[in-house]
Amino acid sequence: MELDRYLQAVAQRWYVVGALAAVGLLGAWGYFQWSGGGSWGDFRWGAAPTARTSVAVLEPAVTKAGSGPQALVNFASIVESHALADRVVQKLGLDIPAGQVMREVSVKLSRTLVPSLTTPLYTISVDDPDGDRAVRIANAVVDEARAVFVDLNTLQPGEVDAALRAEESALRSQLAQATAALTAFEEKNGAQRLPQRIDAQFTTVNALRQAVRMGKVDEATAAANQAALEKREAEARAELDRLRSLQPVYDRLTFEANLQSTAALRLVGADSSQSGQTDPAALQAQLADARTKLQQARDALEGFEQQNHISDLPSEISAQRNAVAELRRLSQASAVAPVETPTAEQVTMARLGVDQAKNASYAANAERDGLCAPPNPKYVCDAANARALSQVTGIQQAQTQLKAIEDAGANVARTREKALAGLQEQLKQGEAELDRLRGLQPEYDRLAFEVTTAGGIYSQLQARANDLVGRGQGASPEAQLAAARARWEQARQQLDTFQRETGVADLPSQIASQAALVNDIHRQVVLAKTPSVGLDAALQPEEAELQRLLGLVPEYERLNAEVTQLSGQLNVLEGRKLDFIVNAAAAPAAQIKVLDPAQLQSNALWTVVTYVVGLVVGVFAGLVVVYLMAYFDRTPRSADDVENLVNLPVLARLPRSA
């Protein structure tokens, strides 16, 4: 549609635009009537005055972590609640309903330069026709919201602790039942640590099958060792049982030590953030002090490491422990292992190899003699000569191999004694080194803890330097940290005492190592028995035992899964308990600080803007309606329109005015 035609249409239908503009103004007026608290009886032209106040709210971490029914409550939701409106109406004795107060009150999260998740800044606005009443309502809202919020966010340690303990008790009870069922199953079927047992049984059966195929059993050696092996197996099993019996106590003490250590480390962060200064100068001083302490702690740790030739003590102890366990297992296994001598077949094969090498050498020599005769060129002769020489080397290698096999039988006993002595010497040295490293561990742990805590404090203070929003003063954070440290040291001492008294260090790996040793000896005992009972007779019961163990797998897995699931739940609960310990000690109480007292603000500009917007929207809507009307209008408005309509010339035009 052309512009001039549209303008003509607007000029002809100006009343449509005017009517919709009036509707827009009426809408703006209606908005003011409605937004003023819904009281249509109070006629007014513009927006109600607004009382506005800003408050900073410290929302405790516990509300975010979710430790109770107040988890989803934040300050804004309290301000906008009907319950708060009720309290305000009662407090001020207002003659307006609580619903109207609730509609008049609004809260929004203010934008700040440094957004903080834990100390948001809220702006509370109250729009009321009566300006004085708006200010009174705003002040009352802040007071009542403060009371409600603090009440809701005050942690009740007793209740939470009791709830956690009850939940833990129930879980532990279920876990004990599941574990008892699993243990009873294992004992009834002789299937402790079933997967490992099955692996060991597979190894034993495979060894017997191989022996059956090779027909290789040194009867004399086996008979001599059988008694010693059986005795050794019994001793190893007794040691394994002793270690297993220690495991529950060990697990409890280890967990307690880890829990307290983690709690203390987490308190470091909470401690520094809680005691944060709002004074930049004081904060800088704290920061410098923390940096110095951190450097001192690092220096002390490095000096200790250099003095004792260590770098990462826990890793070194772990590696040394593994090395010692392997040496011990090798030493014990070698002491009772049967002597393995070269078989006749091996000697025959080695001799055959020597003969083949000699034949190849003869053939190469004959070829060389043939090729070196004239008229062959010299390089052909050289190549044949090189091949002949290489065959001589092959003969020497085959002879060396044969000699080694022949000498092996004679040297094996001597070699074994020598190797055993070497192993025992290495074991002795390894155990001594392990003892030395373990002796260093308490001091190392203390120094590492100091470095970690100093580093935590320093990084927290650095973060604080960028965020000076006040949080209020915490209550003696140093004392809390000291107490946590004391609890950790106490738990650690208990664990050390237990380890010294029982002679265990890393019980799980010791148990695994011992079980492997038992299985190893058992396999040797079975092999040693075979000469007396026959290979097939020895193989059959072992295969039957393997089948029996495999048949136990489904039930074992069911019981084990139950134990694992309950253990997982218990671990989750322990995590929550840890959160509670940290939060109860470190989380500050909810605090609300009024930054800007309630002040009345005029809304004249807002009134004008609203009316202008209503007018503009109305005019625009009118123009749109006119456009649509013109678009669908088929009235001819000129002679040209008529000619286009009927395709005939216009002879006369009768004017509008007669």
Partner: protein
Amino acid sequence: MAVEPKVVLPRPESLSLLTADRQAAGGERSSSAVPDRLLRGRASAAYAETFRVLALQVLGSAQDRDLRSLLVMGAYPGDGRTTTVANLAIALAASGKRVVAVDADSACPTLASLFGLAPRDAEHGPVDADVRGVQVLTLAPGSNGDGTRTNELLGRLREQADFVLVDSPPCSRASDGFGLAPLVDAVLYVVRRRQQDVQLQRSVQSQLSRLGANVLGVIYNER
């Protein structure tokens, strides 16, 4: 079934009688009964001038093509056909021509009343209007159905007058206009400034073209 036409061809003696009777009856045709929009009333100069120009165009065409009878058509009621016929008749009469204005809109015959006559007065033959040189005839209902009779009537009227102007019913309501269009020398089509059905207008023009009607052009009524 043959329909007996109700139109009675006028005779000179009866016309004079009808005229005499009307005058004796008490002057129903007073000049004050003619609407203002007619040229001889208080019509605006521009309005009157429009019809004078239109009359000149018709006279010019008549000299070129022996144009004696004209049918005024329109698509919708109220388009201004009757007014056009009346004013054009007056304008032609002012040029010294004898004009017979025929009202063929039997459903709503209003042409006679524009000249201060009762419709039934003009049903029996052309009646002198109070404008010099203008006679009015109203066709009785149903008389348009017989084309031969109507053609004979128009032939007689052409003998009596210089111009025969025929007013027709709206095309959107009745098809009488399409029956008359081939019988006259030319057609004038009236379009009023109002919401139009484009399809209908094009359909009317298409129909007139198929009937072989000689459409002179359009009179655009802005009222």
